[in-house]
Subunit: 397 residues, 2 copies
């Protein structure tokens, strides 16, 4: 009997439904701060020291009592004796970061002074008390929370942690994504014998693995599973310990596309088929509270499914911020049409600051991937874009 | 004697001058394709096989001679016998990717058919010859160039390489960036004893290392060099085998800021001081055809120098594309002023979809970093932005 997609779900509805079943993971691990770039804090960071931890000069110049500079200006400079020990009415040469003696309250910038001889300095401006002085704890107070649990650690934050003498910190573990390729026609990419007619080298797990790692996850890759309901079910059970399962292939409506039926028995289908072109056969589900993404086997449709669902899912599991993609805007070299009612992804080659649509048919899938720099998305309610119209291109990452 | 910045260089001029002395590196290495995500091809990739390597069905359906479907429609279907061996006037069930016998020339989609009983199929549409058939080499021809030297390899490209049975490929090596921290006041961040007054934990090398690795380089980190011209010169000589040298600190106009003078003796200063705030003391130079960036020791100024110069330099050395940063546009919660004549970088905290300027003084450097989500850039010829004005925020990476 012919199976058909009964009702396709709009992409935004499918995304919302899928994201709603995803809970960020709770596991954490303690790592050296050098390993924490891009990770998410699982604890508040409390300063164990004041910053500055001593009273310091915030500028190169001379430390002194501000009152000594009263009325000083370029035209009417004050002359102050330079000393090493800071006797009354003297000043001492300091560098940015120098420790300041207790009996000074200001630093005058070197630019506003002139050493007239070895032990006499001309002061050409007035400073007020506390000017250019970093008091103890003025930047960060000991026992203050410097970074909150959930903070996404950037290299700048890690250098702040290092300034606070923090050597290790507790971050969220990376979510584990299982990737299960299915299909009788697939052979492993490391098989020595070249593929026979009817055989296809399995490459979707490699693409998926490289992307989900880039997005902040680790992976657990299954061997290739034939189109056999018993074996597919068993593979899913084997991988339910992961935080998400991605099944590649077997999601369409062919005789050998068993995956959705198996999932329906094991859990709950959220959407079966989405209003995206390419990407239509994408199925989203939940099995034992784990999100399951069934991505189409065709590489371009698979890429669309990964961008639409796997990427935000990995980010949410990992507590990572959902950042915008790299985009650029360029005029089209020719008109493009959409599939009415579908969110249409049209591949684009950037040439001479124009957006050239990459013509594709079922037969030129691989070569169209390598030739495209990104894609533009045509919304469901628009029929396409005119030649010359400026479109937003999301660069292929 | 007091040294001053004689003439500050506008940022765009400094960037252009610096980029002009940088030549992309020539070294390459052969790696397993699994390791090549984000790398740059150092060779053309030539297909060693046709894709498809056999005549295949591009759709699920029935393979047949197109002429058998002449005139068929939903209202006037054709009835065709189903066979396994494809005798004349019969059709055979095929799946996407199935190998096709020589004596068929088209595949009719399953959606346009109905199996009326076990060996009879109702054909409800007409197909033309070659429809839904992938001819041998139609996507990629054997011996064609699939990816050109210089291509930036994305996971999608790597899955195409895998489809072509490519297991290893030659890519550009990562450029080696030497990072040399200088300053009498600095102590290593792994020292057991906490810093004394006047001592500062060295953290700029860690920040710099994490960023340049993120941008596609490897690093060679120097021990901390005191403010001693002989030792600084020696450290530079030791690192001239790298592709770029980044010196942290010692670039300003204080008595202990020797670096620019040393570089002037060893090579050529391109710019000494730039019209950026923060970031002014940045010095750019060339020594024995190697680019040298002297970044200010203050972490925020150092971050600006890395973004303005180290990032595009690493990308150019590595043959990588210069992609735009992640940006967002939001209205300001209060007005911000710029330093007239300077490119001003104002840190921004994103709160409730507004851009809140992070107030900073010399004393709140570290805490202002952890509190900001990005920065907005005020051009040299503008005095600032008004409250409520929408500004572009470059997110801190």
């Amino acid at each position: 009997m012919l199976k058909l997609f009964k009702e396709l779900t709009p992409v935004n509805v499918a995304q919302e439904t899928f994201m709603n079943i995803i809970a960020p993971i709770n596991r954490s691990e303690k790592l050296a701060i050098e390993k924490c770039s891009g990770r998410v804090l699982a604890e508040d960071i409390i300063a164990m020291t004041n910053v500055p931890h001593y009273r310091r000069a915030a500028m190169d110049g001379y430390a002194l009592k501000a009152e000594e500079t009263l009325g000083a200006s370029r035209n009417s400079p004050a002359l102050i004796k330079r000393s090493e020990t800071l006797d009354p009415h003297t000043c001492v040469r300091v560098h940015t970061g120098s420790s300041l003696p207790d009996n000074v309250d200001a630093v005058i910038m070197i630019e506003d002074t002139e050493a007239v001889d070895h032990d006499l300095v001309e002061i050409r401006a007035q400073v007020h008390p506390y000017e250019n002085v970093g008091e103890i704890g003025e930047d960060i107070k000991k026992r203050a929370i410097v970074l909150h649990k959930g903070h996404h650690l950037r290299p700048v934050d890690i250098s702040v942690l290092a300034s606070l003498m923090t050597t290790h910190t507790t971050v969220r573990q990376k979510p584990i994504i299982s990737i299960i390729p299915t299909g009788d026609e697939l052979i492993p990419r490391n098989r020595k014998e070249p593929p026979e007619p009817g055989e296809i080298i399995e490459t979707n797990t490699l693409m998926t693995e490289l992307y989900v790692k880039k997005w902040g996850a680790t992976t657990n890759i299954s061997r290739i599973i034939p189109d056999d309901p018993v074996l597919i079910r068993y593979a899913i059970i084997e991988h339910l310990g992961s935080d998400m399962i991605i099944l590649c292939g077997g999601t369409s409506v062919g005789e050998r596309d068993h995956t959705p039926e198996i999932i329906e028995e094991m859990g709950r289908i959220l959407t079966r088929g989405i209003k995206a072109s390419p990407g239509k056969p994408t199925t989203l589900a939940e099995i034992k509270e784990k999100p399951v993404l069934c991505m189409p086997g065709y590489p371009v449709a698979g890429y669309v499914a990964l961008q639409l669902f796997a990427k935000p899912a990995v980010k949410k599991l990992a507590h990572l911020p959902q950042l915008p993609e790299n985009r650029t805007k360029l005029p089209l070299t020719e008109k493009i049409n959409s599939k009415p009612g579908y969110l249409t992804f049209t591949r684009i080659k950037i040439e001479n600051n124009t957006a050239k649509p990459v013509m594709t048919s079922g037969a030129s899938i691989l070569s169209s991937i390598t030739r495209s720099d990104g894609y533009t998305i045509i919304p469901e309610n628009i029929e396409g874009y005119k030649k010359g119209e400026t479109v937003e291109i999301i660069l292929t990452e």
